[in-house]
């Protein structure tokens, strides 16, 4: 089965990516500071013995490769172990990952719900006032830094209007502003992608052939053109995923969203190596998995790839 061998190949690739990323992160974070020093920094009368004792307690006196080996071993056996300062890692991660995915998927869904219809409208009404408006708006959306947008939303909807809670996760209404903040950026780029690929596809001869068959505009757009454009859109979404995760970190911080970004920032501040390593590894796995998913979707959408 070519699909199976394809997946196998990607899984092996993912393994290499994971080793490279975690090795780098584990190594780099150890260069930036010592958790024992961070820990004792507000205590008076710290002796070198205190430091050594804490370092030993955290297992930091062992050679780097041993520590790294333990970490990878734990990762492979699903035994995530304990953080330096915050207890078992597994429940931390599962909570944060859930929150981050909830936010990411909601934003993505919102952005697709907006960008696909608008992009199609703009492409089918090229040059019209509506098209111009869509293009201006998407450009404007792109030029907002997301932290700024987040703070503006808070000032308007929380501080002034008091409609929405400014931070944390207390219910569905907490999701609105973070999702909109990320969604605006995603929508702006997706809108452009939908519009250009739609324009591209609409100028294809097979679209003219479909019209020549007597198909209605709706059938031409939503059956033929959209299916073909979605191939490019899916590819783009896959590429976008990495930067989406980067954007999430900032937005999570602004909205105090209990996700992977907040967890990672906290871990960096405390130099909690095990948490940070695990967060990064999981993000790496996630990115690889999403790209695999994109490739598989791509196969589903495009028979030219599926059958080769």
């Amino acid at each position: 089965m070519p699909i199976l061998s394809f997946i196998l190949k990607r899984v092996i690739q993912a393994g290499f990516v994971l080793v490279a990323v975690t090795l780098f992160v584990s190594f780099a974070i150890r260069l930036t500071g010592d958790p024992a020093v961070m820990m004792l920094r507000e205590s008076a009368n710290v002796t070198p013995e205190d430091l050594a004792r804490i370092r030993e307690g955290l297992g930091l006196n062992r050679p780097f490769l041993v520590q790294y080996g333990d970490f990878i071993g734990g990762l492979l056996t699903g035994e995530l172990g304990n953080s330096f300062f915050r207890g078992a890692i597994a429940p931390l991660i599962s909570g944060a990952l859930g929150a981050t995915l909830l936010l990411a998927l909601t934003s993505l869904a919102v952005s697709l719900l907006i960008s696909v219809p608008l992009g199609i409208y703009a492409a089918t009404h090229r040059g019209s006032f509506g098209d111009q408006l869509v293009r201006v708006l998407s450009l404007a959306g792109l030029s907002f830094p997301n932290f700024w947008l987040g703070i503006m939303l808070v000032l308007i909807f929380s501080v002034t209007l008091r409609w929405l809670p400014p931070s944390g996760f207390t219910g569905p209404q907490s999701l609105i502003m973070p999702a909109v903040t990320i969604g605006v950026i995603l929508t702006s780029t997706n809108l452009r992608i939908v519009r250009t690929t739609m324009l591209d596809v609409l100028s294809s001869q097979f679209i003219m052939v479909a019209r020549a068959k007597g198909l209605s505009q709706t059938a031409v757009i939503y059956k033929h053109a959209l299916r073909n454009s979605s191939i490019a859109l899916v590819t783009y979404l896959g590429l976008q995923f990495g930067s989406l995760m980067g954007g999430l970190v900032v937005v999570e911080l602004v909205f105090n969203w209990p996700g992977m970004g907040t967890l990672a920032i906290e871990a960096i501040a405390q130099r909690d190596y095990p948490i940070l390593q695990t967060v990064i590894s999981i993000l790496a796995v996630l990115i690889v998995a999403v790209n695999l998913l994109v490739d598989l979707t791509y196969m589903l959408l495009d028979p030219r790839i599926r059958l080769e």
């Binding site: 020093v37 004792l40 920094r41 008076a44 915050r86 809670p165 931070s167 907040t262």
Partner: protein, 507 residues
Amino acid sequence: MTDLKSRLLIAALAATTALTAAPALAEGTLTVAQRQDPANWDPVDTFLVAWGSVASNIYDGLVRRDENLDLQPGLAESWEVLDEGMRIRFQLREGVQFHNGEPFDAEAVKYTFDRLLGEVGGAGPQQSNYTTIDRVEIVDETTVDFHMAQPDPVILTKLSGYGAMIVPPQYIEENGEEHFDMNPVGTGPFKFASYEQGAQIELEANADYFEGAPELDGLVFRFIREDATRLAELQSGGVDLVTDVAFSAVPTIEAADNAGIVAVAGPSIYSLALRTKDAVTEDVRVRRALNMAVDKQALIDAFLAGRGSPIASLQGELSFGHDPELEGYPFDPQQAMALLEEAGVAPGTEMTIDYRAGNSTFNEVAQALTGFFAAVGLNVGLNPVEDGVFLNEIVPQGRTNEMYQFSWGGWTFDFDNTAYLTYHEGEKWNPYGTSEEMNALLDEQRQSPDQELREDILQKVAALAHEEAYHIPLYNEETVYAVADRVEGFVPAPDKRLRLTEVSVAE
């Protein structure tokens, strides 16, 4: 009267919108926003002020320190310092129960300190603060003796916080350390209700508290990392009290219509230490000149929104050992230049300030300092250093430039803490040495259980340090809280520990 009417109207409108807003605050519950989630609730595990602000409401120590930093009876009703400070006898309060119903007694005190000084405490950062205690002896059910390894004049203060909080022996033995860490039980005015990592901890009133039930029904601490987000929560009514307010945000809150600033002199002082060996600052005249070049009040007004006071020694006015008579060097650039000339320091001489890169306020202060020094003809550069490197390699190893940041925030408010660390031979914040006289003074006060004598000596230490100009003491930061108008009876604690027994919320 129309004015009052329109205000009522606005209030009514605000109330209705507040109802539609999601986080309508529960009656009798106060919500606090602070930057950090300490993530552990076991007293031996923590090293964070963020822990103190929450856990001071859950636990009690034998001794309690009030908002004026005076020591008050806590779980001990009284105490006696015996044997020249080598033994302290505590008379324990009777009839007190832990939140789980377990009785508090001498056994619990012994268990607490055996645990702190033993293996469990050894894995955490708190043990090192209490190593002057040799052992705890149970005299009877309500009496314990602390046998000291050496006299420790600050030990009573230390018993009022952090590692010395009394923990429930049975509960820990039955449920294990990890469970205790996530589900803390103490004797304090509030009981632990729930904890959501990274998000919030909820406490409820302990109706059986030995000093009477607190005014509030419940207490919620939310952990919000971003300064701006904490303020937004306050302004939108999501929280009542914000700790760790950035100085830059002070004017915003002062202008807000539903909240205000409450501040108190805090534990943190900022200064520049001066290199007394192998540098141009070896000459005391140069060190004095540098002191005279700086307008401390200008720094406070510009960067702390006025929320600070200039200091003459490395302590604030609440510190034990503070001498109100000691005056700092005046801001006098003319005299500074004269002193520099006298010391043979040519105009344009280059110097460098090493400072910790993480603190944005101090970054700005450091920039401004170079301006002051330039005004007296010195060409001072800046060298920001990453914390770990600064604390491990630059300072203790004596590898600093002419000036380097020294800031300290010991919660004990006892000058010994700071002075010993910076002036005594062999300490890591004293890489260049001071004098025999200084060492002798510091040792002497450490040995003495007599607090009056100690205070006298510590004031001498401060005067001597001033004379020698080892540092340029800059300012003592205020601890700034942003408080919603509906909060009543909030008295700020200088040490950032919040104990909210007297506070209530208007509805």
